[in-house]
């Protein structure tokens, strides 16, 4: 059977794909302004390389592959030295008792555990504030894995990281989040 050859029609791009690409971007970066910028950059890059479109994939698949590239570039940017300079809380000993809990960071007993439904707006706001407090790289990986529930393999592929790298990030994000929720919700 002959392979279907897709064609390109740049005049229809915004109507056909803008919302799809915007949703795709926002579920990864969770920042509407940044997502809009990434979508715009994707269309510009697509226009620039339209002559390279071979028609093997659909227009949408092709545009998504460009957007994916933009997201990796963004991830690399926040993972650069500037990104790594963000404050990271340390929970475990470095010296003699390496890997054991630091005394001042040991999980405390929670006083207020009666309300854990996300329908509670206050609780939802607090959780969002704690996620927003994470270093951007941690927040992005945590959201992709926990909120959007992407497969580990998919995240690793999209962000060009290894699985062990992903678990270290998830661990650091969750440890920091637990502490933030403990201080601001469960023991507040």
């Amino acid at each position: 059977m002959a392979e279907k050859i897709h064609t390109i029609n740049t005049n229809k791009w915004i109507d056909n794909y803008a919302d799809y690409l915007y949703n795709y971007a926002i579920s990864r970066v969770n920042n509407s302004d940044l997502a809009k910028d990434l979508v715009q950059e994707t269309f510009f890059a697509g226009l620039k390389s339209a002559k390279n479109f071979k028609g093997k994939a659909s227009e949408r698949t092709w545009l998504v592959s460009i957007l994916k590239r933009k997201i990796i570039d963004h991830y690399r940017k926040i993972n650069s030295k500037k990104g790594q300079a963000e404050v990271r809380m340390n929970f475990y000993n470095d010296g003699e008792n390496e890997g054991d809990w630091l005394e001042e960071r040991v999980p405390q007993k929670w006083d207020n555990t009666s309300e854990t439904s996300i329908e509670n707006e206050e609780l939802k706001d607090q959780l969002e504030a704690c996620i927003d407090n994470l270093p951007e790289k941690y927040a992005m990986v945590f959201r992709m894995k926990t909120v959007q529930e992407f497969e580990t393999e998919e995240i690793c592929k999209e962000l060009d990281i290894t699985a062990s790298n992903l678990w270290v990030i998830i661990h650091r994000a969750r440890t920091q989040l637990r502490k933030c929720m403990e201080d601001n919700w469960f023991n507040n």
């Binding site: 740049t10 803008a18 475990y92 390496e98 890997g99 854990t116 439904s117 909120v147 678990w167 661990h171």
Partner: protein, 87 residues
């Protein structure tokens, strides 16, 4: 043999986090359970972590139900910018 099953609290909580997504291996879970025998802090972490996972699950459901769209003004601006760059 038993030495290889000994892990630090940092490693134990990493396994615990991985297990919240059902992705810890059998060997890792054995190490974690052996660690719990001597470490009540990590056992407490795990209990609290499970409560948080439940919370995150509800939050995830809530977030995924929201469809994000660009406004017609934003789409028009994007169309104009794209048209301009064609010239």
């Amino acid at each position: 043999m038993f030495k290889s099953l000994k892990i630090t609290c940092d490693e134990a909580t990493t396994i615990c986090d991985k297990n919240q997504y059902g992705e810890a291996s059998i060997k890792e879970l054995i190490k974690l359970n052996i660690h719990f025998i001597r470490c009540r802090i990590c056992a407490k972490y795990t209990k609290q972590n499970m409560a948080l996972s439940k919370l995150y699950k509800g939050y995830s459901k809530n977030c995924k139900s929201i469809k994000h769209c660009l406004s017609s003004e934003e789409k028009d601006a994007l169309k104009n910018a794209l048209e301009e760059s064609k010239q």
